[in-house]
């Protein structure tokens, strides 16, 4: 049991607790906060795997952008009374049953399958260099991602225009 394992178990407990609390809590603002902690735990998992750039992007985009956007939207659209999950007992029970059966099937499949690599070791220095990420992002050759990169930039532009058009005052 080294520090790598201990860190993983702390992050796993954080992710499990906050993702389940996110969908059962009564207040929507609390749900957004629990989602934030689940996303932070995921960023920690990326750091643990050695993908530091991915972890930093996750922190910046989610913590700095998406969750703040959600909190603003929640505060802007307060209903008269928050009916977050007002369902009949049978619907909640059947949904829970559905999710548990699906999860059991997933877990069974994961346990049965023989993976090539069994265990994740602590990352050494050069799992993925940032210079390599940059050169792959802008290369057109084998394993290059220039076209998706440009497509995402067009998508973001379209997204800005669409958000302004949809949310404007008429």
């Amino acid at each position: 049991m080294d520090s790598f394992n201990i860190m993983f178990f702390i992050l796993a407990a954080l992710i499990l607790f906050s993702s389940i609390a996110c969908v059962v809590t009564k207040s929507i603002l609390r749900a957004a906060t629990y989602l934030f902690f689940a996303l932070l735990g995921t960023a920690g998992l990326y750091f643990l795997m050695g993908y530091t750039f991915l972890g930093a992007v996750q922190l910046m985009v989610y913590a700095g952008g998406v969750v703040v956007l959600y909190v603003f939207a929640i505060l802007l659209t307060r209903g008269r009374k928050d009916q977050l999950s007002k369902n009949s007992k049978s619907k909640i029970f059947s949904t829970l049953l559905l999710c548990l059966v699906g999860l059991a099937i997933f877990v069974l499949g994961i346990m049965k399958y023989q993976f090539q690599a069994e265990a994740l070791s602590a990352p050494n220095e050069g799992v993925l260099k940032l210079s390599e990420v940059g050169s792959k992002m802008l290369s057109t050759g084998d394993g290059g991602y220039l076209l998706p990169f440009e497509a995402v930039s067009v998508l973001l532009l379209a997204c800005i225009v669409a958000a302004l058009v949809i949310a404007r005052k008429r």
């Binding site: 956007l69 997933f106 994961i110």
Partner: protein
């Protein structure tokens, strides 16, 4: 050393928590939060498979996660714009009030 099963089961639990919230929530914003959970679980799987099974030159899973994060941000911006628009006309964003969009 972390077993790969632990990471995959972790993301599976996150995925099904998202599905549970997606079905049981009544507020559209809470449904959107559940969708974020599901997308995040898929992102974890991409990164884990890339790190464990394609260690070395191949970094496709890494880039899939990166682009998925960008698309998630765009998607949530549009969805929130739509919800603010719904709130302006109906004063409520619960799914029961959105019956006009059904047909």
């Amino acid at each position: 050393m972390i077993q790969i099963n632990c990471l995959l089961i972790l993301s599976a639990v996150m995925m099904f928590a998202g599905i549970f919230g997606f079905i049981t929530r009544r507020s559209t914003l809470a449904i959107l939060l559940s969708i974020e959970l599901m997308l995040n679980a898929a992102d974890i799987n991409f990164a884990v498979f890339n790190r464990l099974l394609f260690n070395g030159q191949n970094v496709d899973g890494f880039f899939f996660t990166l682009f998925s994060i960008a698309i998630t941000a765009a998607e949530s911006a549009i969805a929130i714009a739509i919800m603010i628009n719904i709130y302006r006309s109906l004063k409520d964003i619960s799914v029961e009030k959105l019956e006009k969009m059904k047909w």
